[in-house]
Amino acid sequence: MQRIGVFVCWCGSNIAGPVDVERVAEAMKSVPGVVHSTTYQYMCSEVGQSRIMEAIKEHQLTGVVVCSCSPRMHENTFRKTAQRAGLNPYMVEIANIREQCSWIHKDKEVGTQKAIVLAKAAVAKVMLNTPLQAGTSPVIKRALVIGGGIAGIQTALDIADAGYEVDIVEKSPTIGGRMAQLDKTFPTLDCSACILTPKMVDAAQNEKIDIISYAQVEKVSGFVGNFTVTIRKKARFVDELKCTGCGACMEKCPSKKGKNEFNMGLNNRTAIYIPFAQAIPNVAVIDPEQCLKLKTGKCGLCERVCSAGAINYKQEDEVFERQYGAIVAATGFKPIDLDAFDEYGYSQSKDVVTSLEFERIMNAAGPTGGQLVRPSDGKHPHEIVFIQCVGSRDTSGCGKPYCSKICCMYTAKHAMLVRDKYPDVNVHVFYIDVRTPGKNFDEFYRRAVEQYGVDYIKGMVGKVFPEGDKLIVQGSDLINGKQLALQADMVVLAAAIEPDPSARKLATMLTASMDTNDFFTEAHPKLRPVESPTAGVFLSGVCQGPKDIPETVAQAGAAASKVIGLLAKDHLVTNPCVAQSNELLCNGCSQCERVCPYGAISYVEKEIRGPGVREVRRVAQVNPAVCQGCGACTVTCPSGAMDLQGFSNLQIMAEVDAICK
């Protein structure tokens, strides 16, 4: 039998003015279950709280209703009060008779009557409360960063710096990501490799960081603090520990037709290769599609020249499991395919290139040794046209509806670099808007126009087509009201960026949500921008949305600090107001799993024993460490097997009944 105590707060005159608090307390005395009912000027004060504590002991109360201000204000206060008196903190309910009663009703009779109803509803609810225990779950003090670009590297460095172990899983043979491919960075024009490669080396040398390159995540199970991840490390056919990165194998390899991914396919590489000079790990890898030995069994030259004996044609994929407390997605981006944009002639002419290809052409370590020449004939160009927003801000279905954010700035950078190095080259930029929000960004763009004489044309290009050895760029010049037909030697397309295709599969494994563009969704767009709605999963870099290097690094650090905050705890205290599945009632129909935003629900085949039942059945189980208690599942469940602790079906119906009485 429940023994409920009701405590009506005056809140000075805030409540006691428009509500006859004594009458409320008096009325509650006759409510079944209520054994004690009293008032006090300020329940939240030390004295008020000690009165509650005394009453709990004196009247052996099993439940407490405080009629006071909003539970958003003092629910926690009174829960702690109850706990100090030896009562389970979840046996406390608040009747909000200030914000939702005394402050809005001037008529004392009306206010008093409503306060009584609200108090009765709270009593009706607390009668059905059950003591809840906040559970705990241990935290594994190791983090996983998926993706080894600048976002992943920075996140890993920051986590390691705090003293935690961290693994980077990178799908390509080296870390570095897109930033490693860049020539210079805006708005300072410092060399990308010069600022990135030291960080790569730091990561490689950090004892806390384990770089697992040429690998991918295959499976993720578990939950915040306690993930189990299956990782597949692809066969390199080269022993990572033995290879010294001397490159002798590359010199001898007879198969030279592999597309050089690092140079965006602008030139070829050998079948055994190191992606670029500063690769980390600086270890060769054999492309099984190109290797003669692996394809035909004949060759084996690299094995013969390798003085370290590192070559192993029989190497196989390695699959292993590791445990982590937190996971960071840092899967980055790629430029979109331009198949849907025939009008720009990308597939017709080698001299129409994407900005990332242009980056490689301008780079001293690139396919042309940093010489600006046309890919088609190696000639020096005199007229270059840049086209912005290729596939960005496109709602026609061909491209992406969002702004890719970085293109305005890198195009200004390219234009400036060309004019700086080759003053004889005329540079034209077609733009819709030039977007330069960022420190020193607009100044940078204006410098391109004012100091370097880059010709910015407000308008868009309709088509590009080859004519002789030139490219005709037909576009509109909206400010001058003209249609232009420029003769260009090269055209550079600022292709939209999109999340790396691996992200979607990963999101499914992590039960992390994505938007329609396949960017990871943040837990809150403003207040929790580096957390995924799935507890324990964090976001770093472009996988969450387009951003430039400084923003990426900032977000990487923020994600790392969230991870550190998590790993610093030995145990996680879980919110006990979570969903719970009654296995006797569960159909195992999976409807609840589909609406759960956190992936907290899983299914097991289990022997169910109940009155008249003994069978093996598929039933839902809620992981209380992951559930956030929204209750979406409870309504989806037709049998009522799923219920929410603290807001149970019966509790809410009891409130309804009390209010409608």
């Binding site: 914000e99 119906m653 409130e655 309804v656 009944d657």
Partner: protein, 148 residues
């Protein structure tokens, strides 16, 4: 139909903890009044509102039921109000189909900053329900206190 002179409607308002309940609190702290006929039940999210609760309220004599949640896109749990939106739309259309006056049911999105909106929504809803009169189509007479 006999309506008592002093008849006042009974209104149950389900408010999500994060936006609408906070909006109701704000209405209070900014002293934006609305009729005392509205009684609020706090739920974690609008998606916690089971059609059973709504029918139960009508059964026990409620004259109107309103569900308030975060604006679409602002749900604390990211997607709860989207599910609630579908469920409540379909349920309310069904009640309308069964001949229940549709003014008795409503869904409103009220943010934690919209105290004034909360109050005006409640004023309007009470007015609508008052005009419709007592709920006689969906009630269980056994649950009613006898008319004096």
């Amino acid at each position: 139909m006999q309506v008592r002179q002093d008849w006042k409607p009974k209104i149950v308002a389900f408010c999500c903890n994060w936006c609408s309940y906070a909006g109701a609190d704000l209405a209070g702290s900014s002293r934006r009044s609305y009729p005392a006929d509205v009684k609020i039940i706090r739920v974690p999210c609008s998606c916690r509102v089971n059609p059973l609760f709504i029918l139960r309220a009508f059964q026990r004599g409620a004259d109107g039921v309103i569900i308030c949640g975060c604006h679409p896109g602002d749900c604390h749990y990211t997607s709860g109000n989207y599910y609630a939106r579908r469920r409540m739309t379909l349920l309310f259309k069904m009640l309308e189909y069964l001949g229940i006056e549709k003014g008795r049911t409503r869904v409103e999105w009220v943010s934690a900053a919209e105290g004034a909106k909360f109050s005006s929504v409640m004023n309007d809803f009470v007015q609508t329900v008052t005009a419709l009169g007592e709920n006689v189509k969906l009630e269980d007479l056994r649950c009613k206190e006898p008319l004096n």
